[in-house]
């Protein structure tokens, strides 16, 4: 059927025009077409009007004859015609068909339609010769198939895209819901502001464009949307406007902590530019940290008190010690001859213990100071540092073995203190050996630098390991090795402050290995 219409449309005008001209000149039919009776003309107009109004359907008034040459007329519909059925049939049979056969041969089948409503007979004709149609058909079918396939593909694509678009839309909606839920359920305050500048370009105020649910709770400002900050707090500190103004104009995000005096609050704030630069809008995420700040202030006060207390204690503890030691010495100096040996021994013990307690107080003070001291990182050549530490050591008979040491980034004086304590320990605890040996080395262990001080001295029993790094804990009696038990605690605290670790291995009477790790500097020489 598709093929039929195609051919029809393509050839109808050409065939019809030629046939119509011949028909007009035909002695019998020409007259029939030209001389339309007046009542027919009226009826035609009536029908045309009806047709224009859509009151009647074309199919029912249009006279139609379907004719196939071999079977005669197989279908004819009269409809509303100005011509009689007989006239139409004879027109087709006696004129049109012979004309077509004459023109196109008898093998062809013809489709004709005769429309009697127009000014003259409008005759549509076409050949539907088998071969011709078939050939056209195949080509057209093939073309149509391609088109159809393309159409289907297109449709498939459109469907897929539509689905994807719907999916995206759904995701977008979900994500929007998620974010809006997040913004409104999170504890942090969030708002978007629009900066207001004076005519000199100085930021003087801002307007709240959007706020989240926590905003009110975090600021104490009600219904802020659309309002200006100065409406709430006319004396809001200038630095707030300066900072946000800078963010709006430069687009560089900032994080800071600041006090808002009029709101009686401290804030931790992150602010970044929102949207196009010319909008001068800033998105602000903030947290009320008033409680934390108050705690911090309190803690600082407590720390200060503690510091004052420590100094006062150290001062007050020293004075009597000084007296004990001083007067004991006076006793020896002024009354020495009157004392016997035992008397002098006892005075010596008094003095020695006073001195020891003095050292203890000094160490304790140094240890407590470590907790507050800030570390200053510098590149340290550990070879040079170790060399200077070794020079400062009291005379000893130990053989010192040092390899090439790694460079570290740490606080010079603190790391030096670590090396002093470890090396002094190694020398002290190996001093009883026939051939004391102290080895100092370093290695890179998976990106961390490990420094080791090894001796062949008294060592220690690993079962007391947990006491090793604790303050005032000792594994040896003062009679064996003097000391107060602060050195390793200081080492541990210093290394911990650098983010490193300290550990040790020991075998009683065979030696000890003390190691600490430090972060590797970014550019290591």
């Amino acid at each position: 059927m598709q093929a039929y219409y195609c051919v029809y449309e393509k050839y109808l005008d050409e065939i019809s025009a030629k046939a119509r001209t011949e028909l007009m000149n035909h002695p019998v039919f020409g007259k029939l077409i030209r001389d339309i009776p007046s009542e027919m003309a009226e009826a035609r107009e009536k029908v045309t009007r009806e047709l224009q109004k859509g009151a009647i359907m074309q199919d029912y008034w249009e006279p139609y004859i379907n004719y196939q040459i071999e079977q005669g007329i197989i279908y004819a519909r009269m409809g509303l015609s100005f011509y009689s059925w007989y006239e139409l049939v004879s027109l087709v049979r006696d004129y049109i068909l012979p004309y077509l056969q004459r023109e196109y041969g008898t093998g062809a089948a013809f489709q004709t339609s005769v429309n009697g409503l127009n000014n003259f007979l409008d005759i549509g004709m076409c050949i539907i010769g088998e071969a011709y149609v078939h050939e056209k058909n195949e080509k057209i079918i093939a073309e149509r198939e391609v088109i159809q396939k393309q159409n289907e593909e297109l449709e498939q694509k459109v469907t897929e895209r539509t689905l994807r678009l719907q999916d995206n839309l759904r995701q977008l909606k979900e994500s929007e819901e998620k974010y809006s839920f997040l913004f409104n359920s999170m504890d942090e305050g969030y708002c978007i502001i629009e900066m207001i500048f004076d005519d000199k370009g100085k930021p003087v105020d801002y307007r709240f464009l959007e706020t989240n649910a926590s905003f009110e709770n975090q600021t104490g400002l009600k219904d802020a949307n659309g309002k200006r900050m100065r409406e709430f707090a006319p004396d809001h500190e200038d630095h707030w406007f300066e900072i946000y103004g800078k963010v709006a104009t430069t687009g560089v995000p900032v994080r800071f902590q600041n006090r808002a005096e009029q709101l009686h609050r401290w804030y931790d704030v992150f602010a970044c530019r929102f949207g196009a630069p010319e909008n001068l809008q800033v998105a602000i995420l903030f947290n009320d940290i008033t409680t934390r700040k108050k705690t911090e202030e309190k803690l600082q006060e407590v720390n200060k008190d503690l510091e004052a207390f420590t100094y006062s204690v150290s001062h007050d503890l020293r004075a009597p010690l000084r007296a004990i030691n001083g007067y004991a010495q006076m006793l020896i100096e002024d009354h020495g001859p009157k004392l016997d040996q035992e008397g002098r021994r006892i005075t010596d013990i008094i003095r020695n213990n006073a001195l020891k307690m003095g050292t203890l107080i000094d160490d304790l003070l140094a240890f407590s100071k470590l907790g507050r001291q800030e570390i200053r990182l510098t590149k340290i050549n550990m070879d040079e540092l170790t060399e200077s530490v070794l020079k400062e050591m009291p005379p000893h008979k130990a053989e010192i073995k040092t390899g090439k040491l790694h460079t570290v980034e740490a606080d010079y004086s603190l790391v030096k203190q670590v090396m002093i304590n470890l090396i002094a320990n190694a020398l002290k605890y190996s001093s009883g050996k026939q051939k004391p040996v102290v080895e100092i080395s370093s290695k890179d262990v998976r990106g961390r630098l490990v420094f080791t001080v090894k001796d062949n001295g008294a060592g220690f029993d690993m079962k007391y390991y947990d006491k090793l790094f604790r303050v005032f804990q000792r594994l040896h009696s003062p009679a064996e090795f003097e000391g107060v038990g602060v050195g390793l605690a200081i080492v541990k605290r210093i290394i911990a402050k650098h983010g490193g670790k300290v550990w040790a291995e020991g075998i009683e009477n065979e030696g000890a290995i003390f190691s600490f790790s430090l972060k590797k500097p970014k550019i290591n020489k």
């Binding site: 510091e307 100094y311 006062s312 150290s314 001062h315 020293r318 004075a319 010690l321 000084r322 007296a323 030691n325 001083g326 007067y327 010495q329 006076m330 006073a354 001195l355 307690m357 003095g358 003070l365 140094a366 100071k369």
Partner: protein, 147 residues
Amino acid sequence: MSMNTQVEILLVEDNMSDAELTIRALNKKNLANKLVHLENGQQALDFVFARGNYSHRIIADTPKIILLDLKMPKMDGIQVLKEIKSDHRTQKIPVIVLTSSREDPDIQECYRLGANSYVVKPVEFDKFLNAVSELGLFWMLINQPPV
């Protein structure tokens, strides 16, 4: 005013034991023969500015050096130092601050206020003796201020 009446060392120290030890140390170096020991800050200021019990003194008759303990009850050493160093009549007197600890945060403050030196009072008597007498000698003999 004669050289005979001039006090060479004013020791301001509330702890009697420390005072005795200090005087003993200075004595050993023959520095304590013209020494005045006062026990609190108020007395020290009265002495230096010739007020109260010391109104018979003359301000211009300044001690050659002042050894000043920081930690004293009531008026402490810092306050004494501040007053001495902020008066043009007395600001040239060398003041050596005595403290119990090298870690004392007041040391910085003392230097800011114009202290000339400080001595940590060590537990060990010998060290104390040396420190005090050396510093005393230094300021009295070498760094004698223009009168």
